[in-house]
């Protein structure tokens, strides 16, 4: 009998000579890897919890799970966004068992301790039994909470770097989304919630994988064509992949690729959309708005996805639950001032493409679940290839620079191995137009 090898598993094969980039499929199935991800990634970095516009009134709240922790995402009586651990400091029961609502006070149903949305303990039934010197605990909070342009993040690492530093160059792509409304983009009420029997990292890869679009989503494109759209296939190639620092990356389409995939807008809706972009040119400059009209699939490491495609903006939060199971929550971000007809068509495209019962997301889920099932053979077939575009001077959106960027950061955190970034030429000017401050605006970190 041969003894099992005690050699440590190598998860990333980043060969710059061939060149070739491979990911060991053990990373998708191994419970030890999953545990290390929780400890070294989710306990250490900034994680998305929600958008400020989900909390419109004082004492509005949503309950969320972030890094496995149950949280209360709330706007307190004074209008300040707060994040609390959803657990009674008394004996642990969840303070809030509703997914959303409005309440100034939340009372633990176990022993009746009551807290306000500022986290203070306001009443304890029969408190004389605790004596006059009892230290009354408030709700616990993640050690760090911060936001960038309405996107609220938490970190369970007290020593985490400032959020703006963490987001690095990804802020530019968040700006491209947020600048689409003069009054501020707004998350619509309601969510898409679904689960996938696959490792969470597969959906990260999929979220900015331009290569799979035509093959996996053939049925969707046939529907779009049947609805009268003229799909310019060359536009699919009008894209780049960019690394944005700290593991963040995006696939980015050229000007006017943002609405490319959706069912065609009506003439009136198209005119309104064009008019909106034209008015923004006077606000931010033509070069910036040209970029704004392009598609972008952005992943903020590790699990926040912001996709501006199919005439809509989806925010997607990916939650690992087990090595072979994830939960996904998605929201739609819209300019609140747009007209009813444009909104209707935006939502139609949102539902048709991104909906859990739409014509695209189920295809992705099916693809990822078959990947996961096949990873049962990871010892016989250990490597997945993520090399596409390593040889490109400027990688395309259909290349795989985005995934490699993410995996290198993952490898650095999980395995303490730092791999150098890939050298590529800078993208063309069309992808580098700067945002001009042509009019006063209330946008700040």
């Amino acid at each position: 009998m041969t003894q099992p090898s005690s050699r440590p598993v190598r998860y990333i094969d980043d060969d710059r000579d061939l060149p070739r980039f491979r990911v060991n499929r053990a990373a998708m199935v191994d419970p030890d890897v999953f545990a290390r991800e929780q400890e070294r990634i989710f306990d250490k970095v900034w994680l998305y919890v929600g958008h400020e516009t989900e909390l419109t009134k004082p004492n509005d709240f949503k309950t969320r799970t972030v890094a496995g922790r149950p949280l209360i995402f709330a706007r307190d009586r004074r209008g300040v966004v707060q994040v609390w651990v959803n657990s009674c400091p008394h004996r642990g029961a969840m303070i809030c068992r509703e997914p959303a609502g409005n309440a100034r006070f939340m009372t633990c149903f176990y022993h009746g301790w009551s807290f306000d949305t500022s986290g203070r303990l306001v009443s304890v039934p029969g408190d004389t039994a605790y004596g006059p010197d009892f230290v009354r605990p408030g709700l616990a909070a993640p050690p760090q909470v911060d936001s960038y342009r309405g996107f609220v993040f938490v970190s369970f690492n007290p020593d985490v770097e400032p959020l703006a530093d963490y987001l690095a160059e990804a802020t530019e792509f968040i700006d491209l989304v947020c600048d689409q409304s003069e009054s501020g983009m707004q998350v619509l009420e309601g969510t898409h919630e679904y689960s996938v029997k696959a490792n969470w990292k597969l959906l990260v890869e999929n979220s900015y994988d331009g290569y799979h679009a035509v093959s996996t989503h053939q049925r969707y494109f046939e529907m779009v064509m049947a609805s009268g759209a003229e799909l310019d296939a060359t536009a699919l190639g009008d894209s780049i992949g960019v690394a944005l620092g700290n593991g963040h990356a995006a696939s980015v389409g050229g000007p006017n690729t943002g609405g490319m995939f959706g069912r065609p807008l009506s003439a009136a809706a198209q005119a309104e959309r064009q008019g909106r972009f034209e008015s923004l040119r006077g606000r931010h400059g033509a070069a910036w708005v040209d970029r704004m009209t392009g598609a972008r699939n952005l992943v903020i490491f590790p699990n926040l996805v912001i996709i501006d495609l199919v005439m809509g903006v989806v925010i997607r939060k990916i939650d690992p639950v087990r090595p072979d199971y994830m939960e996904v929550t998605a929201w739609e971000l819209v300019p609140p001032e747009e007209g009813a007809e444009l909104r209707k068509q935006r939502l139609d495209n949102f539902l048709t493409f991104w909906g859990p019962g739409g014509l695209a997301s189920p295809d992705d889920v099916e693809a990822l679940e078959t990947c996961q099932r096949s990873f049962a053979a990871h010892r016989e077939l250990p490597w997945s290839d993520v090399s596409r575009g390593m040889v490109s001077a400027v990688p395309l959106g259909s290349d795989e620079l985005q995934m490699r960027t993410w995996w290198r950061r993952w490898n650095e955190l999980v395995n303490d191995e730092v791999l150098p970034p890939e050298p590529h030429d800078p993208p063309g000017d069309r992808f580098r137009g700067e945002r001009l401050e042509l009019q006063d605006q209330g946008t700040s970190v």
Partner: protein, 243 residues
């Protein structure tokens, strides 16, 4: 308001109060110990003898002291109505209740008074049950979270939609509930299924609306604890800097 637990009935104390708008009769239930909060019940003059005592006892079971009154007769202007409510709140202030520790519930014609109070004052919570004059009058800017409960019969859906739209931009939270198949007396209970469901659900909503919004009166130990806390520049615990 039915309870499985048989508690002794409390007979409300009756008296009169001089308000800026005249003298009104009031009913009170005062509780010993540490009551949860206080509720001002606004009803018709007749309701003070019929519906109010039962309602006040039901609120007492949830820990609320109550003061019930018919805030004004016909012909009162809206500012006069608000002044009358303000005068009634003084009675509760004399009992040591701060305004955020008080909820207001208005029934029928007094339902509009509860909405006006929600616009004029910063109270713990406000509820209008089967209110008249709310769907066709001006809507105040809310300063207090407001719950409106309506029976479907006789309630124009377009008026409800308009009210909902007007309240959407208010600085305070509100909710409108319309009970299908129910008439304006839905809160009194009925033998038929829809009527019974409306009665049961509306009472549950009223109590929950109060419980999650009316500031609880602090216990002596809670006050002691609060007095020991260092004053802070902001009374919010640390959260993100970029707000």
């Amino acid at each position: 308001m039915e309870s499985d637990v048989s508690l002794p009935r409390i007979e409300p104390l009756r008296s009169t109060r001089d308000l800026p708008t005249g003298t009104v009769e009031v009913a009170e239930i005062r509780l010993s110990g540490l009551p949860r909060g206080a509720v001002l019940v606004l009803c018709s003059a007749a309701g003070l003898d019929t519906h109010a005592p039962e309602l006040m006892n039901a609120l007492a079971e949830h820990g609320y002291e109550t003061l019930a009154a018919a805030p004004g007769g016909p012909g009162l202007t809206e500012p006069e109505l608000v002044a009358a409510i303000d005068g009634l709140l003084v009675v509760l202030t004399e009992r040591g209740w701060q305004r955020e520790q008080v909820g207001v519930i208005g029934y029928g014609e007094a339902g509009r008074a509860a909405l006006l109070a929600a616009g004029a004052m910063r109270l713990g919570a406000a509820v209008s049950v089967s209110p008249s004059g709310v769907l066709d009058g001006p809507v105040p800017t809310l300063r207090t979270p407001w719950l409106g409960l309506f029976g479907e019969l006789g309630t124009p859906p377009e008026a409800v939609a308009t009210l909902r739209r007007l309240l959407a931009d208010a600085p305070e939270f509100s909710r409108l509930v319309v009970y299908p198949g129910a008439d304006a007396d839905f809160f009194r209970g009925a033998a038929d299924a829809l009527g019974h469901a409306a009665s049961f659900d509306s009472w549950q909503r009223v109590v929950e609306w109060l419980n999650v919004r009316v500031v609880p009166r602090p216990s002596p130990y809670a006050e002691l604890w609060a007095s020991r806390q260092e004053p802070k520049p902001s009374d919010h615990p640390r959260q993100g800097s970029a707000r």
